[in-house]
Point group: C2
Chain length 646, copies 2
């Protein structure tokens, strides 16, 4: 029996207002992926594919294209290959993915490959600690001369993230020591002290990496260096101006015209709206959130909260994709969310997962988990094919068949980014505080954690995201009093809750129900999230979606794909308001998905003549919708997320 | 009492099929503007403004910019002015407009100005007859070296049209003789005979001009030269290729990539779809229609009929605007009719009036008159401001206020083109054949014509286009038997018809009712065309108009303009299906217009949040629609022709 507690949640709502004086607490800490097992029917097979196909495949692509050997001074680009200035970041993300995988699934071959790659990287390090395959081997006299455009500190940041992941996964300090020496070099080079460069990277990344390095090593200098990069960014006179002049360039000729392209037109604390390149934006907001937590720096919160709203209340696709424009790989104006031309880079959705996750740790507010879940299950996951070896760089919400997954990219940031996200999925499911366990995502598996001084094993059984029933079992040595917070997703309008078989009624607070009691080993909590097919409407200022509706069920956004709907013009399909869509799980389709089926119609185009005094005749048809993330796994095809509704 | 004969006409229907063997007859001849007076409340004030403001204004602009003095060898471009290769065509169209005006409204000052301009032009003529202000004075060694790009024969064509108009208006041969000498020079230069160039102009125009010159002079060589240009166009090997090579250029580097840009990728008779630059297309089809009639050449008809359908059934805006794309000032693919980015050049709609008018003369088929009327009252007329001194080059069907009428253009083809159309409006109202008078347009005024050997004066009394009642009175010396054809417009679904007060019932044939009887001086025919407010729907393949409706009343297409609908978001207005729009004539608004008023609604954008589980709340509002042609006469403003309908 389900006790339905009716809640009608606006899917997105505005942020609470922080005042600058408020203290920022990092209440919650993620339970590390290393302590979480995932054995569900949705993510576990994806993580297996990631481990067995994507990671080896990307290793080979990195090897073939010189992203590994490029660290050696004698490496020369092969035919058809151009050496990018940010090759290092691709292999760094691969190291990170491979390390996460190794932590949960030991693999001697992969371990050896990692050692070899790391040895290659280490061989490139200069005596002062400097390490960048491009600037060491290709333009050795130019380092630190173009921070704005050349991704030097960005590459360093990714290598630092890789080093931390490798150290945590294997306990080996091989890459960590190398990167500490490089971080020390960077620390000697940049800062406000006399003789130091007051620069910061055009592509943010190092800021969040340095926080990770601080957490892994306890070395406060790294945290302070991160803080320096955040504090310095956007200050006038602009560093990028003086740097360009030093190169003999006219800074007004910067192609992107304004430094808001890289969130550096004004100090970060003064920014209130998201601008520019979407991935850069997500990475710097992630770092700012980390710094707010680590330094209890509430002065960062007004910017973070306002920018959060400007992203999620005005500039985010239903899929969690962000950055509609190809020209800047980024943001434009509020409500500008075109479907077919959507850029919505895979890396940007991944970046939104990173940032949401960090915001969530500040106060366990379900708004952040909602966005994290939305991006994870939709706009990020769409970036990789079901077989794990084909990738989307852009993730449109409509297609006339012009889009197709690619097996690699010259600028290959997305493939290893999605690989590291999937490999570390366990990290996003649970958090713990002194007194609470929080369950953010419903994924079958278990977690080992510590709460109220007590080791607790929490196990989930669920068919999520296809079914909203979740059973949570607790195991512990002796009874213990703590709070168990279970997320009631923003998409969910009614749910039932039982403890040890007895219905209980708890009002959700900030998107979570909290059950505090003395828990005993063997206690069981059952949550039943109603998961009907829902129609979703966009804000009226989203021109592209006026008169249109999207379909969501649970966290999954659906789309209509041509391959399931032959001879139906997807781009002029109309879903009658009264049409019911029925869900059914199809085990053999697309790795097992719940599809939706129902009746729709479309205007008959048989009539000749351009203009008529009556509406076009409608033809009825049967339609099938599939999860958006799974589209374009069966060849090029038409697709639409937003369907006209009458 | 109105006898309503219910007819439900598809607004556009497909052409009858001509077979190549069919004879082409030019059954009807237009009644010359010189024999038609216009004294209605709609066109007469416009023609007065054209005469008193536009024509003097354009004279001054042509003078100021060197378009007149540029014929003299000593003229040098002034500051900020660049001399175009097709300056001659602008002044030529002005001569044409001024001549038409002079024919109906004698004006010694204008007559003198014309003489001076013509003397200037004549002074530029070379001994062999060649005449082009650019090639005589700027690049004297280059003439006939780049027919593809340099508009040389195009300028000649416009000067020929000017010469014919001036001759017919004034009886003076001053320009006519000059242009006959030039036409003779062109005739000696181009053709299939040995030693002649087998070229033709990249911008068609001379073809229709030579037919006019033939009709004015009776010289068959001019007709044959026109036929040569039509026959030669698009033949392989391409003349433009050899001409480019002769200039030392690579013909494959032609910027437009294909000669279909200028309708020259294949022989005109083999063409079945409209392509390329819209004005060029309209001018060549006009010439082809003239040639089909004059030469009884049925081999031109399959192309003309098929292209007519491809324009009017697939590629024409509701306003009669054509050519949606700025990049080629022309046509794209079927049903590609974006509203806000519509190019729809004023000259192209005027060209469509020219072509429709010529097709209409072939067989008095109302389909052609419907398109002619649509373009005339909407997409062409929108090209000039109410005060006659500001112009639209492009005529979008939606705006966010970025569009504004300009007082002149570097490429100033449109202003004198709309001036010559309005000055010669009388020509489009009536046609005569041996036995019939046909009334195509309802415009108060009178016409002197000859039918069945009898001089007849026909007078119209009407408030058209604001009211569908038309009273036609006939005056003649003695009774005469002939047919009177009255057009039942495609937009009209019921009408009443009376002769001398007695209702009669006649079924329309090809869009006209024909009343044949012995007519007597004083006979009166009353036609009452029902003119309710109508909703119009586009073909379902017109993506821009899916789920949208446009409003038309009689021949007038309406739009919603921001200035009349303050604080209403025009771009997301929704017209409920049930909303009634009431018409009322407002004498003091926009020179006197019938406006439409009613209730509509729009989505409230006050709610925060991007995605919601219910439709946006709607706010009701009152709206006022004005005729499309009159928009943007009160400053920059939002505008929409196609409104969402629910």
């Amino acid at each position: 029996m389900r006790i339905a507690v009716a809640v009608c949640l606006v899917i997105m709502s505005a942020s609470a207002v922080w005042s600058v004086g408020d203290a920022v607490k990092k209440e919650f800490t993620p339970v590390s992926f290393a302590n979480v097992t995932v054995d569900d029917a949705f993510w576990a097979p994806r993580m297996k594919t990631n481990r067995e196909s994507t990671i080896p495949y990307e290793y080979q692509r990195c090897k073939d294209t010189g992203r590994i050997d490029g660290f050696r001074p004698d490496w020369k680009p092969g035919e058809g290959q151009t050496r990018h200035i940010f090759y290092d970041s691709d292999i760094a993300k691969w190291i990170e993915a491979a390390s996460y995988s190794l932590a949960t699934h030991p693999d001697p071959k992969l371990d050896k490959e990692l050692d070899e790659v790391i040895a290659n990287i280490a061989s490139c390090q200069k005596p002062d600690g400097y390490l960048n395959s491009y600037y060491v081997n290709v333009e050795p006299t130019k380092h630190w001369t173009n921070l704005r455009d050349c991704h030097e500190l960005y590459c360093a940041g990714h290598l630092i993230e890789a080093a931390v992941a490798h150290y945590q996964a294997t306990g080996k300090r091989s890459l960590l020591d190398v990167m500490c020496r490089y971080a020390d070099c960077i620390d000697r080079t940049f800062g406000t002290a006399d003789g130091k460069k007051r620069g910061y990277c055009g592509h943010e990344e190092i800021e969040l990496a340095l926080v990770k390095l601080y957490r892994a090593t306890g070395e406060k200098r790294y945290l302070e260096l991160s803080k320096y990069f955040v504090d310095e960014r956007g200050r006038k006179p602009y560093y990028y101006d003086s740097e360009a002049k030093a190169r003999g360039e006219d800074p007004t000729q910067f192609w992107a015209k304004s430094y808001d392209y890289c969130q550096a037109d004004k100090p970060l604390r003064d920014q209130r709206e998201v601008t520019g390149h979407a991935v850069r934006a997500m990475y710097i907001y992630s770092a700012m959130t980390d710094l707010a937590a680590e330094c209890q720096d509430s002065t960062l919160m007004p910017a973070l909260n306002s920018i959060w709203d400007s992203v999620t209340l005005q500039r985010m696709y239903l899929t969690g994709g962000i950055g509609p424009s190809a020209s800047n790989e980024g943001f434009t104006t509020a409500y500008d969310l075109p479907n077919e031309s959507a850029y919505a880079e895979t890396c940007a959705a991944i970046g939104l997962v990173f940032w949401s996750h960090r915001m969530l740790e500040l106060g366990c507010d379900g708004r952040y988990a909602d966005v994290m879940e939305r991006a994870l299950y939709n706009g990020a996951l769409s970036g990789v094919s079901l077989d794990g070896t084909k990738f989307f760089y852009v993730n449109p919400l409509a297609s006339h068949g012009q889009h197709e997954r690619q097996d690699w990219f010259g600028c290959a940031c997305c493939p290893p980014n999605i690989a590291r996200l999937i490999a570390s999925l366990g990290e996003y499911i649970y958090s713990q505080s002194d007194n609470d366990i929080a369950v953010h995502l419903y994924v079958q598996g278990s977690a080992k954690l510590k709460v109220g001084g007590q080791a607790v094993t929490l196990s989930q059984k669920t068919e999520y995201p296809w079914d909203g029933k979740v059973t949570i079992s607790l195991a512990m040595d002796k009874p213990s009093t703590f709070g168990l917070r279970l997320r009631i997703p923003g998409w969910c309008r009614s749910y039932g809750l039982k403890v040890n078989g007895k219905p209980i009624s708890v009002k959700p607070d900030l998107g979570y129900v909290r059950i505090e009691r003395q828990w005993t080993g063997g206690d069981k909590v059952e949550l039943d999230l109603a998961m009907p097919v829902e129609r979703v409407y966009a804000h009226p200022l989203v021109q592209a979606d006026v008169g249109r509706v999207a379909i969501q069920r649970g966290p999954i956004v659906y789309c209509i794909e041509g391959v399931d709907n032959k001879d139906i013009p997807i781009d002029r399909l109309v879903l009658p308001k009264s049409a019911e869509l029925k869900s059914s799980f199809r085990k053999s389709l697309l790795g097992g998905v719940t599809t939706l089926a129902g009746s729709a119609e479309y205007a008959d185009d048989a009539a000749s003549g351009l203009y008529h005094s009556s509406e076009p005749k409608m033809k009825r048809c049967k339609i099938t919708a599939i999860p958006y993330y799974a589209w374009c796994n069966r060849g090029k095809t038409d697709m639409a997320v937003w369907i006209a509704e009458r």
